[in-house]
Symmetry: C2
Subunit: 176 residues, 2 copies
Amino acid sequence: MISIMSHWRDIFEGAPTRTVAQGACLFRREDPVRTMYLVRSGSIALERPLRDGTALTLHVATGGMALAEASVFATTYHCDAVARSEAEVAFLPRATFRRALRACPDAALSLIETHAHEVQAQRARIEILRLRRVSDRLEAWLDLHGAPAPGEWIRVADQIGVSPPALYRELARRRS
Amino acid sequence: MISIMSHWRDIFEGAPTRTVAQGACLFRREDPVRTMYLVRSGSIALERPLRDGTALTLHVATGGMALAEASVFATTYHCDAVARSEAEVAFLPRATFRRALRACPDAALSLIETHAHEVQAQRARIEILRLRRVSDRLEAWLDLHGAPAPGEWIRVADQIGVSPPALYRELARRRS
DNA sequence: CGTTCTCTATGATCTCTATCATGTCGCATT
DNA sequence: AATGCGACATGATAGAGATCATAGAGAACG
């Protein structure tokens, strides 16, 4: 059963699932890590509370995404996991997950691949966010991703860290 | 020899090295991938040229870092690798590297760990860069990393995407 | 001991973008 | 048809930070 796996997600095949109500907490910062989670449906946010009372939303995992991949190795979680919407998550003892990765090179390689693409995409995003002007950010984003589907512009604005009005103004500027 | 490896970096042990002169190019976008590189010394930048003539610097790899980790799986490179300073790089056929990862679960797991930490750190960086005010960015950075060593503030300014004057002004504001 | 470098620091100006306000359009729901 | 919602669009204003300029403090070096 283990030997035929080719993708790390298959490790969760047959794993039990749990439902998390909107706003509920799956784990908290500094809880000991014993379990790996895979989001099946809904969305779960990783939040890092700051001293000033606000919180950084480090990630929002949705269907098919693993949660807190660094926790494969950490002894405790470094942020809170809060359901943004009602969510279903598959869970597995961490030792089981780790054993599967060791036993199945294909699964391990696929996880490496997933991470590598993530790293690459994030690096690009970081560099775009470091640009000062809206026009530069949009230019870079379009160059990397191509034109978005209609109805997606507002998501682009979010991705490149720009207010929707600023983006639409820049788009208008480009048309003339 | 393969069986005693515990870290992916060990795969490059005994690999031949090459010297890259400052400004020289190790590979270019769309070159076919056949080789994996590990930077031994100096620094190599991954640059993605844009249509408007500028270039995004996606990453600057220095001693001990792998270059273009996504290339383990890609058929062609997606950016240029240019030496920022004279650099020494170890190189290995990609097939050899991949074979070693398959043969040695510890090496594969260590690569997963390296990537996972990178992903985590980058996510935090992205969220900091999405904050609008210097004070918020600094606050978040300090909360995650703690106070930097003296002489490092200017590097913080770079990391959080803020000009040095703006950072020093914010620091002055906090002292009063 | 002077030179040169980098980091730290602060002032003045000017550009850019967030924000607020307002309005249109298309689409789904009722 | 009426209602509501989300994306698209643009004007006016105020505020924040980039940029340019300038300068002191400390380390490295011959």
